[in-house]
């Protein structure tokens, strides 16, 4: 691993003539400085949103799910839409840290820390919905299979909702471990630079006594690989299982075998979009342009156009099957309730199509991929589109299913439903602001790790070195 050679043609992953100390300085500095005014403003807004969300949930728990505008036909609306949306977003981090690690994608180092943090926070947000959407949340522990005194009463292992419980809790645990194990060396760096006793103590606890010894590094590397190996199937399985909530049902529009790959692609799509949103802000606010380079942005935009096209194909396949299956219930759902722009929810389907399939095609152009404004704008558009996708799947399938007698009146959310969603934004950004303030937003150790093969100055040097023999190169520069 250490003897990595990287072509001169590849873009450097770290710009500027950085040495190890500069890297540390650049990344740790914001943690040590007093937060900017902007940080306070952002943080307080996030906390305010969070409090509104807490109040919305309080109403839902105290007065019933009737605080939301769901009805006898539409049993899930914004709640599960938001759940799937957040879970989807929570895919990018682990994908970046695990799958890209296994695939030896060096560019992941610039973004993995923030992306993983985002994953953790997104999954935390996602988890709120299945919990608080329960009619009797105080009985939520019934979903846990623990030995109990209620006779032979056990959970129902046939239920996809139960699979969700396992899938998401496992995913969250592994992602959290993965993120935190990566954070340990950097926490130790902060500890070592600490200028107050308290800081030293706290970061000391947070870094679990990391001493930077070779043995520590070796274990750290092994652990990363093991966790990456564990997370990789999870990245694919979590959204597959979330898609089973729908795919295993009998409702036209839900009962679709295409869902698992389609959901996973959509999840990566939205996850990368969310990473982009955050990265564009972070690199600006924390002046991390050297670490989160245009190359990073471009790489992620490539993933976005790829996964966006995959979901596009999935949409078209569904439409085709709606006709080809000659199943009139499915045909009605796909061709009338969704694809017909003039049907009550036609706007959401075409909103989804525009945001997810049409607009990302702009990233076929290199210039667009490397345009920060376009990237930021598109990343927001994609996440709006992905929200529509989940809304389309859930609401337009339910509101007009088999029996026309039960077709629903128009469903639009109540203020408390919106409040809950807004509240999860509050939770997400509160966590993210705290994270950005108290932890290195870029993996210092990992940047240092690629610095000598992919840093700009080293690449420049490499021009001279390339003429030498590899043996000599290794001898001079490997350590």
């Amino acid at each position: 691993m250490h003897l990595k050679y990287e072509s001169q043609l590849r873009e450097p992953l770290v710009n500027g003539n950085k040495n190890y100390h500069q890297v540390t300085e650049d990344i740790i500095r914001p943690i040590e400085a007093k937060p900017a005014r902007l940080w306070y403003i952002g943080f307080y807004i996030a906390v305010a949103l969070l409090l509104f969300g807490v109040y919305s949930v309080y109403r839902d728990v105290t007065y019933g799910i009737g605080q939301w505008n769901l009805n006898k036909t539409i049993g899930w609306g914004w709640d599960i839409t938001n759940f799937v949306w957040w879970v989807g977003i929570g895919h990018a981090g682990t994908l970046i840290s695990a799958i890209l690690l296994l695939f030896r994608q060096g560019w992941r180092t610039g973004v993995n820390r923030a992306a993983e943090a985002m994953t953790i926070f997104a999954v935390m947000c996602a988890g709120q919905f299945p919990i608080w959407h329960m009619g009797r949340v105080w009985m939520a522990f019934f979903v846990l299979p623990y030995p109990n005194t209620r006779g032979p009463l056990w959970v129902n292992f046939n239920s996809p909702l139960l699979w969700d419980v396992f899938a998401i809790s496992t995913y969250f645990t592994v992602s959290l471990l993965f993120w935190y194990s990566g954070l340990i060396p950097d926490m130790a760096t902060v500890r070592d630079r600490a200028f107050t006793k308290l800081r030293k103590r706290l970061y000391g606890i947070a870094s679990f006594g990391w001493s930077g010894s070779t043995k520590h590094w070796q274990r750290h590397e092994s652990l990363s690989l093991v966790l990456a190996g564990l997370s990789t199937p999870l990245v694919l399985s979590v959204h597959t299982i979330v898609s089973f909530d729908f795919a295993t049902s009998v409702i036209p529009g839900w009962h679709t075998t295409i869902f698992p790959p389609y959901f996973v692609a959509g999840a990566i799509f939205s996850g990368f979009a969310m990473v982009q949103t955050l990265m564009v802000i972070i690199r600006k606010v924390f002046q991390m342009e050297d670490y989160i380079t245009m190359g990073h942005i471009e790489a992620m935009n490539k993933v976005i156009v790829l996964t966006g096209s995959i979901v596009g194909i999935a949409y078209l396949t569904e439409l085709f099957m709606g006709w080809y299956s000659q199943n009139k219930f499915e045909g009605y759902t796909f061709w009338y309730s969704r694809a017909n722009l003039f049907s009550p929810y036609g706007w959401s389907y075409w909103g989804m199509m525009t945001c997810n399939v049409l607009s990302p095609q702009i990233f076929w152009f290199r210039k667009m991929r490397r345009n920060l404004f376009v990237t930021f704008f598109m990343s927001v558009i994609v996440n709006i589109g992905m929200w529509f996708e989940r809304f389309v799947i859930i609401v337009t399938s339910l509101y007009r299913d088999y029996l026309p007698s039960s077709w629903s009146v128009y469903y639009s959310p109540s203020i408390w439903e919106v409040g809950f969603y807004v509240g999860t934004f509050g939770l997400f950004f509160t966590c993210f602001f705290l994270f950005a303030k108290y932890a290195p937003v870029i993996a210092v150790a990992e940047i240092k790790y690629v610095l000598k093969t992919s840093g700009e100055s080293f690449k420049d040097n490499m021009g001279d070195i390339e003429v030498q023999q590899v043996e000599a190169f290794v001898h001079d520069h490997a350590h």
């Binding site: 009737g66 006898k72 129902n156 009605y332 049907s343 007009r400 029996l403």
Partner: protein, 1031 residues
């Protein structure tokens, strides 16, 4: 191999002192366990030794504090066990539901001293155990919080002694007793005595919706001011001209049962009666008709006249082509079935009814389908009598007015005239049990008992007696009005003694009386000898002339009609009835203006033929408000577009807009349409030919429980949902439905092998009991009695209008209505839908906590206290029969007192301690956040099994009747053990397999409810129909 010692630090290598210290001390720093007595507890570092103490104290403190807030509920046990009360065992008392002229023999189910449910009395030959929605809901009226609780003088509480004294002093002649129709023979005797005591007094009968046109016509042609018995079961051809005899006309429960006999179709003998219906506004009866023709309300006379003309061999006089065909067809059907044909008409016009009598004479209905030997007593009021009373009152010619049952201040079209008249009456007494619009204006109020607290009798038709006995001690200081009359006429006995004496003489002494009370009915000894009456054709010519000369209607005409649940306002204060969706419009809690799709295009700018506009109309509850003006009186109501309405006709239901003193249920529900009626000749007319209508630009939300009404979509007809065919098709190919199903299931092994090949899972045997239900769509009329019966039996919550608007209604059983064919004049089918108790239930496998699971008897059971409310089961139910407790509708929540402001006053009122007495103790009251649904009345099944077990015999059909089945007046619902070869349910399935189908069968959810396809008696349209249904 040599064991290498790897040193980990220089310390270890050098074995330094510091290293040893580190190794020895696991905790390098001092542990924070210091108990500093001087600082307070909060500032102290964690007091380790005291931690458990504090934990224990705070937990206990929290528990004690929490339990202090537990509400205290008092239950007072019997000090001595009453001899014949076994706690937990229900008692059934035969009694009679009487409301105005409506009479239905019923059994009241009494649990622990409280009547909780009304069941039909199967001993009555008229209803044979059938009931109506209103009879089912009447038990709730007993516990109505708005009932008057004590006698009052000028609104101030008083005692019976005081009020008796006061009335005796105030009663001055002429005395008039104003009542709604009295069907009780003993009460008539009491009235006779009272009138005899007060010279110059008289009794006036007032019916809000009267049949005086018919009574007077019968007087003119048959010499009897009476209504004969109708026998729809004997009619092979039925022509109804605006008579909603299955819904609201005269005696709908009895007629439904008779009608269903003719509609029941047997595979061995595929014959059924033919019903042709003429109407202006869609009615329950019209929806059930084989053929239906639309006419303007003002044309009703012309239709009757034309029919009479064609029958007597002349030409049709109406010009409309469709209508002309209809009249010719009707005439042909009647003439082809002479002696087995019947014409009924809903008009309140004397001349029209005379012509109807002429038709019935011409087709030989007398003695065959009309029985004059047994006149019925349901409606006796004559509009002109009441109009005269109002005139007398205004002229000051009435000294005392005693009112029972009648409420003209609300329901008389010229209510203001009545009110001014009433102000001129010196002494006004009301016996009404609620502070209705008339009672409010009366000086003396002596509220009557509810019928479940009363003694009494009723004679629905001559010789058919039904008895009323109390099932509960009177809840309030009320008194039977007959007692008041007896007292005031100086009688020494009370009404009970009077009644007993009256009947003992007739039914064979004490024993006979006891038996009569036990049975609830005394039936005529001989039945079956129907007879006609001497017919006098004299008035016909004049009537023909009058009808021909009748004024033509203007551009737009109005019809006022009664809703099946609300009637003329009697049901308006009953939340169960308000929340029961109207069979035709599927609306709750309001009245509205019914307009045709054609009128909607011009008036409301909504074209239901344009997908987008139809969708927008359907999915948005706010409907456009229109202003209807008749005779200078205006009313503003939302407009509902109902296909099958005559394009130039609009309709408004009466019975709404009641005084707020009637109860919480009437607040904000609809407007009173009675003032739009008018006096035409000697009778009140509920139609008007000169109406103007305009959209106001406002909208008003209408709580509809069904928004979309067609099962054909752009993607094809959903025949898997609803199957219907014509009699011609059925005769031609009796197995058509089976072939349909075969075709649908072909990819999965066809009908035979579908159960095993439609799944990848193994198929299980289902031995023992297997509950099954069968619903015959041919005999189901869609009347809604089952819906209210289910509500009463299963403690189904009332949620109020705001919640229905949000799609939160809780009914376990609903009656879906679908249109097919032409938008302007569609065919209508009804489909009662309850939980289908699927053997392969999609709801069961998605519940994460197994709160809904399958019983060994085929029931899909719901465990409320296990439910955590994810609603996944409801989403995955293809029938959408699952209902979620969105809010605390029952007051049974773990968070007490959080209903206020969340649910409306009606729901709060339903959870009043008084109203809660109606709850069935056998059924759990569901709390907020859990799912619920039809259980096939599992409490009844359990009881039936226990009964059989106690008697050591197998369970049989007679042990069990589920609530919907019991209430059904047409026996459209069969229920039982499908594994028992002798049960009705298996016999139905085995003997009539060809019409049988399962809803959404191809989903392989394996429902346990079978439906029998609807067959319409249509001959010639066979080919056309087929095209329509399968296009």
């Amino acid at each position: 191999m040599e064991q290498k010692k790897h040193w980990q630090s220089f310390g270890e290598l050098n074995q330094s002192e510091a290293y040893h210290k580190d190794v020895k001390d696991e905790f390098r720093e001092e542990l924070p366990f210091v108990a500093d007595e001087s600082s307070s507890f909060l500032q102290a570092k964690a007091p380790r030794r005291d931690f458990l103490k504090y934990l224990g104290f705070s937990t206990a403190a929290a528990a004690v504090a929490a339990s202090c807030e537990m509400p205290i509920k008092r239950a007072i046990p019997f000090a001595n066990k009453p001899e014949d009360v076994v706690p937990g065992n229900a008692k059934f008392y035969a009694t009679t539901y009487v409301q105005d002229g409506d009479v239905i023999s019923v059994l009241a189910k009494v649990r622990d001293g409280r009547p909780i449910k009304i069941e039909g009395n199967e001993l009555s030959p008229l209803t044979k155990g059938g009931t109506s929605a209103r009879a089912q809901a009447s038990v709730l009226d007993l516990y109505d919080t708005a009932r008057l609780r004590f006698p009052t003088i000028d609104g101030k509480e008083t005692t019976f002694e005081a009020i008796d004294k006061a009335v005796a002093g105030a009663m001055s002649g002429p005395v008039v007793l104003l009542t709604s129709t009295i069907t009780s023979p003993s009460t008539k005797e009491v009235i006779a005595q009272f009138l005899a005591k007060n010279p110059g007094s008289r009794h006036v009968t007032y019916d809000a919706v009267s049949y005086s046109g018919m009574l007077l016509a019968n007087e003119a042609t048959y010499g009897k001011r009476a209504i004969p018995s109708y026998h729809f079961e004997n009619a092979k051809a039925i022509v109804s001209i605006g008579a909603d005899f299955l819904g609201t006309w005269i005696s709908p429960v009895e007629f439904s049962r008779q009608y269903a006999t003719g509609k029941k179709i047997d595979e061995k003998k595929p014959e059924m009666s033919k019903h042709i219906h003429f109407e202006s506004v869609p009615s329950l009866t019209g929806s059930n008709a084989d053929e239906k023709y639309l006419h303007r309300p003002s044309e009703m006379g012309a239709v009757v006249l034309s029919l009479l003309n064609v029958i007597s061999g002349q030409h049709v006089t109406v010009t409309d082509e469709k209508l002309k065909t209809g009249i010719q067809k009707a005439a042909k059907a009647l003439l082809d079935n002479k002696g087995a044909a019947l014409v009924v008409c809903g008009s309140n016009d004397v001349n029209i009814q005379i012509l109807v009598n002429a038709i019935n004479e011409a087709i030989g209905a007398g003695g065959k389908t009309i029985d004059w030997s047994v006149p019925v007593n349901h409606r006796q009021g004559i509009d002109a009598d009441f109009a005269k009373l109002v005139a007398d009152m205004n002229a000051g010619a009435v000294g005392t007015l005693l009112i029972h049952g009648a409420n003209p201040a609300y329901s008389w079209f010229a209510a203001d005239a009545f009110k001014t008249g009433l102000a001129k009456v010196k002494t006004t007494v009301s016996f009404n049990s609620k502070a209705d619009e008339t009672t409010e204006l009366c000086k003396y109020v002596i509220p009557d008992h509810h019928y479940l607290e009363s003694w009494g009798d009723a004679e629905a038709k001559a010789g058919h007696y039904s008895f009323i006995q109390p099932t509960i001690f009177p809840l309030f200081k009320t008194r039977q009005w007959q007692d008041s009359l007896l007292k005031w006429s100086g009688a020494s006995v009370d009404y009970l003694a009077f009644l007993k004496t009256y009947w003992s003489a007739k039914v064979g002494g004490e024993t006979g009386w006891d038996k009569a009370l036990q049975d609830g009915v005394v039936n005529p000894a001989t039945t079956g000898n129907l007879s006609g009456a001497t017919y006098n054709a004299g008035p016909v010519t004049a009537a023909m002339a009058a009808v021909s000369a009748a004024k033509k209607g203007g551009k737009l005409e109005l019809v006022l009609y009664e809703k099946i649940g609300i009637g003329a306002g009697q049901g308006a204060a009953n939340p169960w009835l308000q929340e029961m969706p109207d069979p035709i419009t599927r609306a709750t809690w309001d009245n509205y203006v019914i307009v045709s799709p054609a009128l909607a295009r011009t008036l409301l700018n909504i074209d239901l033929n344009i997908g987008g506009e139809a969708d927008a109309y359907e999915v948005n509850p706010p409907k456009k408000v229109v202003k209807v003006t008749v005779n200078g009186k205006s009313i503003e109501l939302p407009a509902l577009i109902i296909p099958g309405t005559q394009p130039d006709t609009i309709a408004i239901a009466v019975g709404y807009g009641r005084s707020e003193k009637m109860g919480k249920a009437v607040v904000g529900t609809g407007k009173n349409a009675f003032p739009l009626a008018s006096m035409q000749g000697s009778t009140v007319s509920f139609t008007n030919g000169e109406v103007t209508i305009a959209a106001t630009g406002d909208t008003y939300p209408v709580a509809l429980t069904q928004t979309h009404n067609r099962y054909d979509t752009a993607q094809g007809v959903r025949t898997e949902v609803m199957k219907e065919l014509t009699l011609a098709e059925y005769k031609e190919n009796p197995t058509e439905i089976r072939e349909d199903r075969e075709k649908e299931l072909k990819p999965w092994g066809g009908l035979e092998k579908f159960e095993s090949q439609g799944t990848i899972y193994p198929v299980y045997d289902r031995p023992g009991i297997r509950w099954g239900m069968s619903v015959d769509l041919n005999t189901c009329t869609g009347c809604g009695a089952c819906v209210v019966a289910c509500t009463a039996e299963n403690n189904v919550s009332v949620v109020g209008k705001p919640e229905v608007l949000r799609g939160h209604e809780m009914q376990w059983l609903r009656i879906d209505k679908y249109y097919s064919g032409d938008m302007d004049d569609p065919k209508v089918v009804f489909q009662p839908l309850m939980c289908q108790q699927c053997d392969n239930a999609p709801c069961e496998n998605v519940c994460p906590v197994a709160a809904t699971n399958h019983s060994s008897e085929g029931l899909n059971q719901m465990v409320y206290n296990r439910c955590i409310g994810t609603r996944y089961c409801a989403n995955n139910c293809p029938y959408k029969v699952r209902r979620f407790n969105w809010a605390d509708y029952t007051g049974a929540d773990s968070f007490p007192d959080n209903q206020k402001g969340i649910v409306n006053d009606v729901v709060l009122d339903m959870n009043d301690d008084l109203t809660r007495m109606v709850l069935n103790p056998d059924v759990t009251v569901r709390s907020r956040g859990v799912m619920e649904k039809c259980s096939f009345c599992v409490q009844r099944l359990q009881e039936a099994k226990l009964t059989a077990k106690r008697e050591s015999r197998p369970m049989v059909d007679k042990d069990i009747k589920v609530a919907c089945q019991q209430a059904c007046p047409t026996n459209a619902i069969n229920f039982g053990n499908a594994n028992d070869k002798d049960s009705i349910i298996s016999r139905t399935r085995v003997e009539n397999p060809n019409r049988q189908f399962y809803v959404l069968e191809q989903l392989h959810v394996l429902p346990n409810v079978t439906y029998m396809a609807k067959v319409r008696n249509l001959e010639e349209e066979a080919g056309e129909k087929k095209e329509g249904a399968h296009a």
